[in-house]
Each structure stands twice: as structure tokens, then as C-alpha cells.
């Protein structure tokens, strides 16, 4: 629903027009489907198939929307379920990103290829960050067998965090069954991780996208479908049309997903970027593509679907002022727009680079954004006018019980300086960068702590090895 307290660009009526435009795209243009199995499913359901093009009547979309669940749990592996995510349009959760190629080394500051030890240390660190609610792999390690890199990443995540996981494996089918088996080996299952799938390029469902869609639906692994359109290059330059195209891709995939298994969990992703037309870099932080992303988000919200959006990223190459500004701004706009799962906290360099410092900073601003982005009730009961009368004009609320009870729920900064000037000078006048470095060094001083016992860890390693053997035979 489009609700108060949110930054919205399109209201219900506007969203209905955007949705109608997407339905028209699906009827007139259709989607290119590079899978015979998927084409057969579409055709049987009543789509018009011409070679590999499927044109979908709007009724198919309506049927899919009628059965797509609006709410489900993404289960954590903690004892009391406190870390579970209530996946629906409403709560906002932050998570890391996945598959960055490079890391800014925390000791040398050098930009280098990431290795498995980075993934393990990173995930273990995110486990300790209170405002990061779900975990993606952060890095793509180069020192492991690349044919099973997705399973190695998953093993590292299952070993070092209890938080819900979003995997970005490039394969469905057997790989997804292997992932479910790995999750089950350590107290999780198909409901304790979600699978990120992307359409790319626009209005094309390639083999990987289809394979993952079919597997997610069959196994009931929550599926995140994200469009990857870039304004003016892979997608139309108009934010409205680009949003309608992205929405059409998601509706087409949702149709396929629900045809396989009605009621299987689905999350609407709003990927959108734009090329810098001078440097050719595909930007994360472009305001126009951000705008188009909000249009897609609003359309998903008007359908009450849970969503997958972005927060906590920067196009900067180091922990400089741009990095702080973009991570902070995107954390705040992410919360204000009200996406359900906000990923890519700690992404730098347009998604090629990440660092421990970047997600520690992201955790800080995510906490601040969540505190400042709360949707507050205006029920008559929230106005304590009796207390205002008791204290009276000019009185103090400092010693009141109400103050004592409430102020502890305020967000407390762990990085931003809130001392007075003499205290700050006395502590050596540290900058935000200095404090970030100190906190990162402190947090990394503790070795990554597994959340599973050694038997489970070796079981995970065995499962990865077996998968590798199966693939090579």
C-alpha cells in the first residue's frame, strides 16, 4: 500500500497507470524467453508465442498477482527467532551486497582481489552489526574453485552468521537443491535464504533466469527478481517508461513463477542504474535512475508485494567524503521509500569494491535512518496531554518517568562525534575516518567466530566437495 510516512512519487492512481503501461508492454511487445520449458508453460497458460517471444494477456498477470503471497518469514538460525525477517510491505531491513571483486585491504589500504578469508571475516563481522538484518556474500573470492564459488560463499555464510541469507548463485536446478541441503545441514532450510535472480538485458528472460525461477518456485525458496535496466542504454531514458519496462519484466517472471507453484514466495526487486555518459561507468548513485527505482517501488507497494531495494552504497573508490555522503543519503532515502529488503550496504565503486569500513559505516547510518524514518502513530492515545498539564509551561521533563523509559530507545551513535569541543580536542581531535579505522581494527581483532559446530562445518565442506565432484564427472 502507498502509506503515510513514506517518500512516494506515484500515488495509487499513478501506480495503476504505470501498471497498465506494463501490461500493454507485455501484450504488445512481450518478453524474449530463452527456454523451451518456459515457453511451453506460457503457451499452455494462454500466452501468444512467436518463436522465442511470449506476449502475455493481462489476465495471466492478474492470476499471478492473485496467488503471490504478500507476507512470509525469512528464517534466521537463532534460538528464539529474534533475527527472523517478517517479509512484507511494511518493515524495512538492511543487508550487505554480494560478489564484489575487490576489497580495500583494512591494513594496507590497497585495492586487491578478495579471497575466501575476506568473505568469512566479513560475514562474521556483519553478524555482529546490529542494523544489518540479512547477509549477502559481499565478495566473490578468487582463491576457490570457481565452478562452485556460489556454494563456497554459502558455506561461509552458513558458518559465520545466523542471520537470513540472500544468495546470488548463477545457477538453479541442482545448485539450488544443493543450497537447500546445505541450509538444512545447519538448522535452516528453503525458508532461511532467498535467491536473487536478475533479468538482463531488458525484456529478456535468459536461461539462467528461467532455471532459477523454476527452481525457486518448485523448492519454495523465496525468489527475489531484480531488473537490471540502465536509463538510456539497456532501458529507455524516460524514468517512467523504464520503470514500466522493469515492472513488465517482473510481472512476466512472476507469471512463470506462479504457474510452476501457486503461492510460492516472491520478492519484487527494483534494480535501476544509469551510465555516466562521459566515463561509461554504470552508476549506483545517479539521481535519475534512483527516481525510476522509486517509481517501480511504488508500483510494487501499490500491489502490496514485498520488495528488494538498495541502500548504503557509494560510487567512491575510498572512504572519503563522497563515500560518507552517498552511503548516508542512500541509507536515509532507502528507509524513507520503505523497500522491504535494502541490499548493497557497503558497496563502493559502483558495485566492484567493498570494505569492512564501508559496511561498518553503513550499519551506523542504517541505524540512524531507521530511527529517523519511523512511521509514528497519530492515535489520540499517543498525546499525553495530562503530562503536559502536570509539568506546565516552562517546566522540565528530564526527571519524568516517561522520559526515563523512552530515551533509552533513542538511536545511539557509535561513530559520529557527539562530544563538546574540549572533549573532542582532549581525545586527539579524531575525524570520522579516524574513528572508523579504530572501530574496524577493534572489530577485526577478534578472529571470525563460527556459529556452527565443527561437525556441521565439515559437513558443509563435504557437501561443497561432493557438488564439485558431481560437476566434474
Amino acid at each position: 500500500m502507498i502509506t503515510a510516512g513514506r517518500h512516494i512519487i506515484w500515488d495509487e492512481e499513478a501506480c495503476a497507470r504505470g501498471h497498465a503501461a506494463a501490461l500493454e508492454i507485455l501484450e504488445r511487445v512481450g518478453v524474449e524467453v530463452r527456454s523451451d520449458a518456459a515457453l511451453a508453460l506460457y503457451e499452455k497458460a494462454g500466452a501468444r508465442i512467436e518463436n522465442t517471444r511470449a506476449r502475455l494477456p493481462r489476465q495471466l498477470v492478474e492470476e499471478a498477482l492473485a496467488t503471490a503471497p504478500r507476507s512470509f518469514k525469512l528464517r534466521a538460525r537463532d534460538d528464539d527467532g529474534a533475527l527472523d525477517l517478517d517479509v512484507r510491505d511494511g518493515p524495512v531491513y538492511y543487508g550487505s551486497g554480494s560478489d564484489c571483486l575487490y576489497i580495500l585491504d583494512p591494513v594496507t589500504g590497497e585495492r586487491r582481489r578478495a579471497v575466501l578469508a575476506d568473505v568469512e571475516a566479513g560475514v562474521a563481522l556483519i553478524e555482529r552489526l546490529p542494523n544489518i538484518n540479512f547477509v549477502m556474500s559481499v565478495w566473490l573470492p578468487e582463491d576457490v574453485p570457481q565452478e562452485v564459488v556460489d556454494l563456497v560463499q554459502l558455506a561461509a555464510m552458513l558458518t559465520y552468521t545466523r542471520k537470513p541469507i540472500v544468495v546470488s548463485s548463477p545457477r538453479g536446478g541442482d545448485a539450488m537443491r544443493e543450497q537447500v541441503e546445505m541450509a538444512e545441514a545447519c538448522g535452516g532450510g528453503a525458508d532461511s535464504f532467498a535467491c536473487l535472480t536478475m533479468t538482463a538485458p531488458s525484456l529478456v528472460l535468459d536461461e539462467v533466469c528461467v532455471e532459477k525461477t523454476l527452481s525457486c518456485a518448485e523448492l519454495k525458496v523465496p525468489m527475489v527478481l531484480e531488473t537490471g535496466n540502465s536509463l538510456g542504454s539497456t532501458g529507455p531514458v524516460s524514468p517512467q517508461t523504464c520503470a514500466a519496462v522493469g515492472h513488465a519484466e517482473i510481472m512476466a517472471t512472476l507469471v512463470l513463477h506462479q504457474l510452476v507453484n501457486r503461492g510460492a514466495p516472491f520478492i519484487y526487486g527494483t534494480g535501476m542504474s544509469q551510465l555516466d555518459m562521459a566515463t561509461t561507468v554504470d552508476l549506483f548513485g545517479g539521481p535519475e535512475s534512483g527516481l525510476a527505482g522509486v517509481l517501480q517501488l511504488n508500483m510494487a507497494q501499490s500491489l502490496s508485494l514485498p520488495t528488494f531495494d538498495y541502500a548504503g552504497y557509494s560510487d567512491a573508490k575510498s572512504h572519503d567524503e563522497q563515500c560518507v555522503a552517498e552511503i548516508m543519503t542512500s541509507c536515509i532515502t532507502g528507509a524513507a521509500c520503505g523497500g522491504t529488503l535494502l541490499h548493497d550496504v557497503g558497496y563502493l565503486e559502483a558495485g566492484l569494491l567493498s570494505s569492512y569500513e564501508a559496511f561498518i559505516m553503513g550499519d551506523e547510518f542504517a541505524g540512524m535512518a531507521r530511527a529517523g524514518g519511523q512511521v509514528l502513530s497519530s492515535d489520540a492515545s499517543v498525546f499525553d496531554i495530562d503530562e503536559v498539564e502536570e509539568v506546565g509551561p516552562g517546566g522540565s521533563y528530564l526527571a519524568r518517568q516517561s522520559t526515563r523509559k523512552s530515551y533509552r530507545t533513542w538511536w545511539r551513535s557509535t561513530l559520529l562525534d557527539r562530544t563538546n569541543a574540549s572533549q573532542w580536542r582532549a581525545s586527539g581531535s579524531p575525524t570520522l575516518g579516524d574513528r572508523l579505522h579504530t572501530r574496524t581494527t577493534d572489530m577485526l581483532a577478534t578472529a571470525p567466530e563460527p556459529v556452527v559446530d565443527s561437525d556441521t562445518a565439515s559437513r558443509l565442506a563435504t557437501l561443497v566437495e561432493q557438488a564439485r565432484e558431481r560437476m566434474s564427472s
Binding site: 530463452r34 555518459m277 566515463t279 561509461t280
Partner: protein
Amino acid sequence: MSEEMYQRMAQAVLDGEIEIAGELAQQGLDAGLPASDILSEGFVKGIEEVGDCFGKGELFLPELTSAAECMKAALAVLKPALEAAEGGRQVTGTAVAGSVKGDVHEIGKTIVCSMLSAAGFEVTDVGLDISPKTFVDKVSELKPQLLLLSALLTTTMFAQRETIEALKAAGLRDKVKVMVGGAPVTQEWADEIGADGFAEDAIAAVVVARKLVV
């Protein structure tokens, strides 16, 4: 008369008027102008200016790619006449480019093709999801100086290696310089798989391509 026509051709490239570029090429031939002059005095002047302005930050990717499309449209019309003419066409170099097997991403490769066209290369874009065998066939057929292999994904970059191996198996490896590119590709990877060149972006790709065809 011919000078005015050449100026209109250059202007069509600057304006990104793809259909008009093709029409002007035909009008030039109909008026009896030599195909090589139509190219060098008309269209190439336009794309050189676009390339210069891009370098100076006055024009951007949309102008560059539409200018390259104009060149393609004009060349399609001029090609028979150019081939018939003695000496053929003067180009900076020749290249075949495509996204490797399994990779359906277009933009990066298209930008590189546009930049190379703007720098005077004759580029044949063979498209997406191209198998090693198709690349080998294209190299054998077109005999380009450069073969450019694009891969956006860490999962598809392995097909760059496969393609190079297929060139070796077909006895063509020493006939063509291979350049690799794409987001996950690095100089180390290029060295490992025995590519001749790597560039981090399309602008650098032109510099590398020029060096390789000398």
C-alpha cells in the same frame, strides 16, 4: 556542390541522423562522387569531430554511439563501390567484436565498437552469446587484425579462454590480436589466458587497439 554535400554528410554524423546518413551516401554515389571521397571527406570528418568532442567532454556516449550507427549506415551503402575501387578503403585497423558464449550483455561491447569506429577502425560486431566456433569462423572469413571478446559476468569470462584455445586449435592464433574486456576482466586474467590486450574501459580500449595494429 560536392563540398556542400560532404558537409551535410559530416553534419548527419554529428546530429546522429542514421537514416539521413544512408540517404546522403546514396545521393553522393548518384551524383558521381567517388565512394572513397564520400567516406573520407564526408562521414569520416563527422565522426572525427565527434571523437574529438567526446575526448574534450563536449559530447557524450549517446552522440558517439549514434555517430557510429551513422557510419555503419553509410558504409553499408558505400561498401560495394569501395570494394570495387582500386586500393580499397584506408582504415586505422579492422576488428571483429562480440560477447562470448553464454553472455547476453550488449552495452559494453557496443560502446567499445562505437569508440573504435570513431577512431577510424572498421568494426564488425558479431553480436551476443557467440560460441568459440563462430568467432573462429568469423576470423577465418573476415581476417580482422583484432578480435575483441567481451564478458560481463565472472561465469562467462571463462569462455574468453575457450575462444582463444579454439583459435589456437584452428591455427589462427597468430593471425589475429585478441583483446578481452568486461567488468570482471583484469590484466592478470588477460595474461593468464594469453590475450594480447586488455582495457578497463572503452576509452582505454582504443589506445590499446591502436598499439596492437601498428
